[in-house]
Structures are given as C-alpha cells and as structure tokens.
Symmetry: C2
Subunit: 143 residues, 2 copies
Amino acid sequence: MLDISELSRASGFSPSKLRYYEEVGLIRSVGRRGLKRLYEDEVKTRISLISLAQTAGFSLVEIKETMGSEGRPDLDRTALAAKADAIDVRIKELTALRDGLRHVMNCTAENHLDCPRFQRIIRVALTKKQVDAKRSKKNPIKW
Amino acid sequence: MLDISELSRASGFSPSKLRYYEEVGLIRSVGRRGLKRLYEDEVKTRISLISLAQTAGFSLVEIKETMGSEGRPDLDRTALAAKADAIDVRIKELTALRDGLRHVMNCTAENHLDCPRFQRIIRVALTKKQVDAKRSKKNPIKW
DNA sequence: CCTTGACCTCAAGTGGACTTGAAGTTGCAT
DNA sequence: ATGCAACTTCAAGTCCACTTGAGGTCAAGG
C-alpha cells in the first residue's frame, strides 16, 4: 500500500498526474486513510505500461480501452493485435528516420533533401503511412 | 511549382496545416501567384520528414531546430546524433511494448500484470526511461 | 465587365494532457 | 489541544498543434 507521494516517487509521475489518471479511470486507488488515497503495488506496473503506451503514441483514451480498467481486463485480442501491428509500423518509421538522420550526419551532399540515398530511406516510411491513412476508420479524411 | 491544394493532395496535409507550418517556419513558399502561395517540389520531402519526426515524438520546435529552416541547413551534427539516439531509445521501448502486447494475447495468466514474463518485458523499457529522466536537462524534474 | 471559386488573413476556438491555485481537511508530533 | 505538513477537491489556466469562421482579394471563364 502506497500513498500518492510514495507512488509518485516510485513512478516518476507527479501527484497531480496520478490524480488526473485516476479521475479519467486509468488507475484506481483502493481506499483512503483519512482523505489520502491508497494505492496497491500493482498500480506501478500499470503506470509503466501507460507510460510506454504513451511513448508509442497512443492517446489516454486508447490506452484505457485496450487496458480494460479493471482487474479482470478481458482484453480484446484482435484489438491488441491491431495495436501491436500499429506499433510495428511506427517502429519501421522510426527506424527509417533514425537511419536518415545518421546518414545525413555523414553525407556530404550540399542539400540533404536532394541526396538520393536519404530520399530513399525516407520514402519507405512515407509510403507505408499513406497506405495506412487510406484505410483508417479512426483517422478520417481530415480535410 | 505547386499551389496549396496540390501540395495538400500530394502530402495528405490539410491546407490549414500547411499554412500553419509555414507560419511557424517549418516550410516556406517561394512566391505568390496573385494571393496564392506557390511551393517548390522539394517541400514534399520536407513534409514527409516532418511527419516522420512527429511520429517519432518530436515537437514542431524541435523539428524546426534540427532541420534548420533554410536551404543550407548547416545542421548541428551532435544534435542529430542526440536525436538518433533518442529514437533508438524509443524504438526499444516500442519493441518492449509490442512484445508485451503480443505476449498478453497468448498468455493464460488470469491477471496479466502478474505474469512474470510480461513484467520482465515491460521492466526493460521502464528502467531505460528512468535513467534517461535522471540525466535529462531538457526534461527537468517536473514536480 | 462581372461573377465565381479558390485562395487569402487574422482572430478565436478546440481537444488533449496536464498544472496551478485557492480553500478545506486530516493524522501525527509536540 | 494545537500546529502543521501533507494531503484533499474543484475550477481555472497553460501549452501545443491545429481548425474554424468571418470577411476580403484575385485571375480566369463566360
């Protein structure tokens, strides 16, 4: 059992952030001592997961949906598979970007945007994205 | 030479977004026909790059800084190296998250957060992040 | 010449993810 | 009993990345 400041210290999340997450249902406290929230240890793992999912680019709502806010999550396997696939796409993009950056560092071309090797590296990820955009229902056409 | 709607169609960015990016100095138009902006073809590559960098989790300001808004970017090599390294970290996190998700899909443990294999997968990325947080100057202590 | 439609500007609005501040409450040490 | 640090709530504020809307301008076609 942790109070909010202990959890904050353990997780690196500010108390206000923890309260906010609780408010939106991403984590929960199991009770109070007086006014003070009490958290179970389990919530630390949950927070790590949230943090990770955020760096993966998912919104809090998405995270909440796929985590299932309760003890017996009963997660939707196809939803999880979709998330995993989405992450794979992102990893590919990031890899391309990183390789592009590393190339630019060593490339002597006066204008990097003209360097054919650079362009090829970048185009890989771009093409992938446009395909995705085409069939996405949650990202509608947007203009 | 493209006008804004052609560029929009080619890039998948809404016209308002393109105008916004121009306003903040991420892209530029090379002139006007009447009122209408004219863009060079080169800007498409630039936009792809911006898009990529965003999915990597960089803010527009960061992107602008490391792209150098002009033709002769004169990029700071150490800044680029830092970005590339940051992307590597993110890739590791994403890989852990993806593996975690895929594991959960096949894991029969009643509570996934208790599954030791899952916890191990997640902890890898978490540890990495906390180390980073500790020495980051741009991410001060935050609470 | 005049209309039309695609563009323009500029200010204000939106949504997500928090943070901040004011005012109240509580367990614990003195 | 009293003080006070550490919590609490709730409303409002902030920052980023855009979008929306009102009102204006231009050039090409009829």
